[in-house]
Symmetry: C2
Subunit: 440 residues, 2 copies
């Protein structure tokens, strides 16, 4: 395929994506396929000779779409949102077109510098303490990781290196293995200090944890993967109070800030803590600006060597939505979750299982776990909407997460009426069975 054909096919693909997203509510949110569905539909091995774009294109609807769970459907209420917006899609196209690999400043200066500045923008939007920003000559700064798991792993490794070095300087007789065997990572069952846990969006008390960590010389990492985006709204910023005690912090714009996956924003107070742990300097990656101390080489901040030009997505989204546009998006989702909460609370058969703070509602039928498992099964079997469950203190709970960019009040009402009707049907058969069991 040459550039001329790409112009034609690229435009067809743009239309296909626009059609897909415009009419996504007409597709069944969860697919009908069974495990192994795809293999029999395609060849056993790659073709020897080229196929045409048409050959491949027609297989998208035939082979791929029947097996897609539509995360951007307004009937998708499972997991947490996967952010998506048109500005982010455009930026990602540009990222692919430029196709640079930004492991060092010299490998593509724009890639490194835009990232540093975008993470400063984002840090200011959530009112992060100055120490986390790079500015012109700060000691801190931000980096885009692929996922919150990577940010947490990086923090853990940096903390380990830092602690080992500190202990070694105090007790030179100890070997690294001796020290390693005695290191302790403190965590709850959601791991590190978390703002907005996945099961029920609960918040750790940073103002209690922070001073203890600082006093005891413990690296404090805060993961706000989902909830972090909400901190751009002043009314939610108080949830981040205590971040000033942390060594590192991350949240995922790719969850709730309209930036397509992957874009996990991570900040540290001392960039030397990361570069100290991960520095890698083969000659082929050195460049004469390194010595100046002026440049950032992001390969020292992450596990992979290669990296895409992901800050373009932030640049496009932050500018084309503006802070107010993004705040509106967050506030709409929170408003819709409270709408759903309100509907649940009006129905005495149900209970709300955790305080609704952001875009997640945890609820269940009053009654046994089996009953709630049956309800979830009937919801997901009907495939009108899609939810996933969680466990809260031994209880089986249904999670209703506001996900799609295009979800509106009507979808929430529909979802509730649907759930309510399925509950009525279920309770009828459940009581009959119960009655029969009693008679036997």
């Amino acid at each position: 395929m040459d550039a001329a054909e790409f112009r034609k096919r690229g435009k067809e693909m743009v239309d296909y994506i626009a059609d897909y997203l415009e009419k996504i509510d007409e597709r069944q949110v969860f697919p009908d396929v069974e495990p192994g569905y795809l293999r029999p539909l395609i060849a056993d091995c790659a073709p020897q000779n080229p196929e045409t774009f048409e050959d491949v294109f027609k297989d998208i609807e035939k082979i791929i779409m029947p097996g897609v769970t539509h995360w951007h459907s307004p009937y998708f209420f499972a997991y947490f949102p996967a952010a998506s917006s048109f500005p982010a899609l455009l930026a990602d196209m540009l990222c692919g077109g430029i196709g640079c690999v930004g492991f060092s400043w010299a490998a593509s200066p724009a890639c490194t510098e835009l990232e540093t500045v975008m993470l400063d923008w984002l840090g200011k939007m959530i009112n992060l303490p100055e120490e986390f920003l790079a500015g012109k000559d700060g000691h801190g700064g931000g980096v885009i990781q692929g996922s919150a798991s990577e940010a947490t792993l990086i923090s853990l490794l940096a903390a380990r290196t830092k602690t080992i070095r500190r202990v070694q300087s105090e007790k030179p007789e100890l070997t690294e293995a001796d020290i390693m065997g005695r290191l302790v990572a403190y965590a709850s069952d959601q791991f590190c200090a978390t703002l907005g846990t996945t099961p029920c969006c609960s918040f750790d008390k940073l103002l209690e944890l922070g001073p203890i960590c600082n006093k005891e010389n413990i690296w404090m990492h805060i993961d706000a993967a989902y909830a972090g985006s909400a901190f751009i709204c002043p009314e939610f910023r108080h949830l981040l109070n205590g971040v000033e005690f942390a060594d590192s912090f991350n949240f995922n714009p790719h969850k709730w800030l309209l930036v397509n996956f992957d874009c996990s924003a991570m900040w540290v107070k001392k960039r030397s803590d990361l570069t100290g742990a991960f520095k890698l300097e083969p000659l082929y990656l050195q460049h004469h600006h390194q010595e100046s101390g002026l440049v950032t080489d992001y390969r020292h901040w992450q596990i992979p060597l290669g990296r895409r030009f992901r800050s373009l997505k932030l640049w496009f989204v932050l500018r084309m939505y503006g802070v107010t546009g993004l705040q509106e998006h967050i506030r709409k989702h929170v408003r819709l979750s409270h709408q759903f909460e309100h509907l649940v609370r009006q129905d005495e058969r149900f209970e709300i299982c955790a305080e609704v703070i952001l875009g997640l509602v945890c609820f269940r039928l009053k009654g046994s776990n089996e009953l709630n498992e049956a309800l979830l099964k009937s919801i997901n079997a009907a495939k009108k909407i899609h939810l996933v469950p969680c466990h809260l203190r031994e209880k089986f709970v249904l999670r209703f997460a506001i996900c799609s960019r295009t979800v509106e009040s009507t979808h929430i009402k529909f979802a509730w009426q649907h759930i309510s009707q399925l509950a009525t049907d279920l309770l009828k058969t459940w009581e009959q069975n119960h009655h029969q069991q009693k008679q036997q």
Copy 2:
């Protein structure tokens, strides 16, 4: 931005990318900017109100492009290639449009199943032993990682878990920390067993290493990040002989197989070695098909939880190029590297520093490291072409890597004439200086 505007802007972006790639040879391959160039060009913080697409779009040429190192320029001979092709760009657009997160089978069955089958296709193309393939009921299989570093880390962690469990079962009195302190990872200065090292594209002897690893119960991981793509050509496949002894193997289609970053293909013989080390089963990620043993949940195979629909890129590229098209691409690059090698060998001032096997030529002026550092400096200062150096046995060596998809014989000739002329100029002043120093 709504779907209607996306249709318009998306098509403009397609044209912009096509223009960029069609005329990339007219741009200076390495930018003129100095560290810190970008910050003064853009605002200090994100705008409160939305800006238009035009506002952002005009800043691409004004702010971004002046700081881009053009990896796809036919004058770019640095590092290793970053793969790029039009089919891969189209597939990545689709990946963004669908925007699913494929951490489990249920999260989007097509995302998981296409990946498994594509890795089988790719495995067959390089003639991997059957044990590495998933097939319908194999114990092995492939997964797409973000980078070779991640594949290596995953292997290391899986190997560690496996070894600790084995030792614990033999000696239950040992604690995990005791065992951990005694574990040894064997590696050369390029780390694990490597096919095609970055400095000079050398190859470890798998047929010697493999049997020792197997005998001593050592996990063997093979990294063929760059070179792996070449194994689709029968004439290079012998370089992979011995892979049958390995536990895990990876290479990067995003380097040399025309699949845009990121796409690092990794295979294991026993998928249970990975899932045993990384299994993570909170309720909200469980689905009823898990029990069947029929499904793959890729979150157990990697560090991150989230993952993009990256196999679409493989699907588009393998089908639209066909095996023969991809073989042609590899063979062209190897032919061009031999063309450059031939030109260097004809010039008695120069020497070739490592056998030219694939697309990399390591060469230098006969003489001191300082002389060669000066030559590289003059090459990169002229900015007609771009190279990076390496160290081979204490010697400072220039790496000439065939990178761009569109590089042709004329570019190689130009590059050589340019280098040769710069060497002539350099040697003249160098000898004058030398002469003057002697006289003083």
